[in-house]
């Protein structure tokens, strides 16, 4: 049976076109620009890379300049320990933060999803309440909490739990704390919506068939919440890898996250091609696994009987 192809009305096209246009103008076009810069060569000019194309050159001139594009910046990156370390540290910090968030948010979301219906919206409201304050202010507040002479160390020492202040501030640990704190709602909400949708009869059916409460969780609740777990993890992991503000404010001088390294190359070293190449690699690093996961999901869904 063939379904006649549905024609979109003018209004529908406009509604669809607006966000796509937005993405083309403010994401794809800058991205293409960065890709181009990553193939250029650093220079003591303004802007600090060569070649730069100009309409005055004419087509032949542009083509001649394009021939000087090259992968030097990428080759330099591969040799640079600083970049490798930055990538690894970023992935590690984002990975650890994501795992901690999952462990905190899952029981939280489960409790919310099983709370009495009239309580749920209140609980969601409380979970996103921090968003009412500026992100920057909240991260700054953590400095006051984590410093050697900060609130946490004062309290622990006053209670005689520790003798000397814990040095948390300006470490990778502080960055993890900051990321977990800032991104937790983005993990919580997809988990909540996946868990809230689950039919309670499925859990009853599992219990009825002899599954203990723990088995009900492992065999039914957890596998059924997988889409929520994946969505939540991607939603926090991807921005956490490229995070700049939190490592800049809470991290120490040895905290080499890729966002900071990029910033340094762009603004301190003025090596735009190297920084652009690093940004492109970061994008590839993040999108690659995403595409693989998506393909695997689609294949699992199409699996013939």
């Amino acid at each position: 049976m063939s379904v006649p192809r549905k024609k979109l009305s003018g209004g529908q096209r406009a509604v669809l076109a607006a966000p796509y246009l937005w993405i083309v103008v403010f994401f794809l076009a800058p991205m293409a620009l960065i890709a181009k810069i990553s193939l250029s060569h650093p220079a003591e000019t303004r802007p600090p890379y060569e070649p730069t194309f100009s309409i005055d050159d004419g087509l032949a001139g542009v083509l001649a300049k394009a021939r000087t594009l090259g992968f030097d910046a990428y080759r330099a990156l591969a040799d640079d320990r600083l970049y490798l370390d930055s990538y690894l540290t970023s992935l590690l910090i984002a990975g650890v933060s994501t795992a901690i968030m999952l462990m905190i948010a899952y029981p939280f979301a489960l409790t919310m999803a099983r709370a009495p219906r009239r309580l749920r919206s209140l609980l969601i409201g409380l979970a996103v309440a921090p968003f009412w304050t500026s992100f920057l202010i909240r991260v700054y507040a953590w400095i006051a909490l984590l410093k050697d002479e900060g609130l946490i160390n004062h309290a622990l020492m006053a209670l005689h739990i520790i003798d000397a202040p814990l040095s948390i501030y300006a470490t990778n640990g502080a960055v993890v704390i900051g990321i977990v704190y800032s991104y937790l709602p983005f993990m919580l909400l997809p988990l909540y919506s996946a868990l809230e949708r689950q039919d309670p009869a499925l859990r009853e059916a599992a219990a009825d068939l002899g599954a203990s409460p723990l088995q009900v969780f492992w065999r039914v609740t957890l596998p059924l919440s997988r889409p929520g777990v994946i969505a939540g993890c991607l939603l926090v992991f991807i921005p956490a890898v490229g995070e700049f503000v939190i490592p800049d404010l809470l991290g120490g001088s040895e905290t080499l996250m890729i966002g900071r390294t990029l910033w340094n190359d762009f603004f301190a070293n003025r090596d735009w091609p190297a920084a652009s190449a690093a940004a492109i690699i970061l994008l590839a690093l993040l999108i690659g696994p995403l595409l693989v996961a998506e393909r695997a999901r689609l294949r699992a869904e199409e699996e013939p009987s």
């Binding site: 039919d199 009869a201 009853e204 068939l209 002899g210 088995q215 009987s305």
Partner: protein, 348 residues
């Protein structure tokens, strides 16, 4: 000793009394139906047996063992859910094997048991299907197979046929009864559909507002309903309001005439209601009966339903096998035997 015994069970949800001092027993190998309108407590009673609710008072025993405090996963009772509650992340095979795996059955034992159940519900070769690929009827059968797989001594079925269309429902009724008879497992079915209860069950408990109105075999329930509610809920009936006259034997005085009653224990002048099944009234062109006029004829295949006007704004439903002989507006006579129907005192 009965297999299942519920003794004086009561359950309230806030201000709502779901069960009010309910007692019943189900024998081994019996097909038992809990019948009643929605909100009568039948589902609560079933969930009490499965362990999803605890009674406020009273007790539930299975094969002589008190089930108090036993959580659902430790009860040798399985349930087929109204929504089927099939696990969407597992295929047909793994759904059916779920209970067997929890029992710690071996791989080989699971393979053969699942194959056996797929055979019973006529779903051979469909073990690898995903749940979303199944039709409603197939899902229903997987749900049944899954609940039967662990070999429960008692199977609870919550409105098992409600989601099927009518033709499939009738077909499935016979299959369900056949499977029950073959496996000799006790089935307790919850239904609001009186036809289903009458067709399937060995015994029926008719429930209303948290209480059991009557327990009996389908013919008992149909022919000797214990209350006006049961008479009206199970099968079609003509409920005729009137009073009793005790001169010269017993009479029921209806708005359209006096009907002789064979057994009438009520006192003279007592208000009463007579429940007459449509097929207990005999229509004839002439004779001694109550005069009436054919107001409507509905052909139903093997029977014909007639509406006979007998008094101002009162009509009786009559079912007969030869109704085609009559035509609209025709004057007829209704013969009502002295032992037909059931007389209820106006206490309700």
């Amino acid at each position: 000793m009965p297999l299942l015994s519920v003794e004086h069970a009561s359950k309230r949800f806030g201000a709502v009394v779901a069960l009010d001092d309910v007692s019943l027993t189900v024998d081994s190998g019996e097909f038992f139906a809990l019948l009643g309108p929605s909100g009568c407590g039948k589902t609560t009673l079933m969930r009490l047996v499965a362990g999803f609710e605890t009674p406020d008072s009273g007790r539930v025993t299975l094969a002589g063992q008190d089930l108090a405090g036993a959580p659902p996963h430790r009860r040798p009772v399985n349930m087929m859910f109204q929504s089927y509650a099939l696990f969407p992340h597992l295929n047909v095979f793994d759904n059916i094997a779920f209970g067997l795996r929890r029992q710690g059955a071996s791989r080989v034992a699971i393979q053969s048991r699942v194959a056996e159940l797929l055979d019973i519900v006529q779903m051979q070769n469909l073990g690898a299907r995903r749940i979303e690929q199944l039709s409603g009827g197939q899902r229903q059968r997987v749900a049944l197979a899954r609940a039967l797989a662990p070999g429960p001594s008692l199977l609870l079925l919550d409105e098992p046929l409600a989601a099927l269309d009518r033709k499939l429902r009738e077909e499935t009724q016979f299959q369900l009864k056949d499977i029950q008879r073959r496996l000799k497992t006790s089935f307790v079915i919850v239904t609001h559909d009186q036809d289903e209860a009458l067709a399937l069950a060995d015994r029926i408990a008719v429930m209303r507002a948290g209480k059991i109105e009557q327990i009996g075999s389908p013919p008992e329930i149909y022919e000797r309903p214990a209350s006006r509610f049961v008479a009206g809920f199970v099968g079609a009936t003509n409920m005729i309001e009137g009073f009793v006259a005790r001169d010269d034997g017993g009479w029921f005085v209806a708005p359209f005439g006096r009907l002789k009653r064979a057994d009438c224990a009520l006192r003279d002048g007592a208000r009463a209601a007579l429940s007459l099944r449509p097929e207990q009234i005999v229509v004839a062109r002439d004779g001694e009966g109550v005069p009436g006029v054919v107001e409507d004829i509905a052909f139903r295949g093997e029977t014909t339903q007639l509406r006979i006007g007998v008094a101002a704004r009162q009509a009786l439903r009559v079912s007969c096998t030869n109704g085609n002989r009559f035509s609209l507006g025709e004057p007829v006579r209704l013969m009502i035997a002295p032992d037909a129907g059931v007389l209820f005192a106006e206490a309700e």
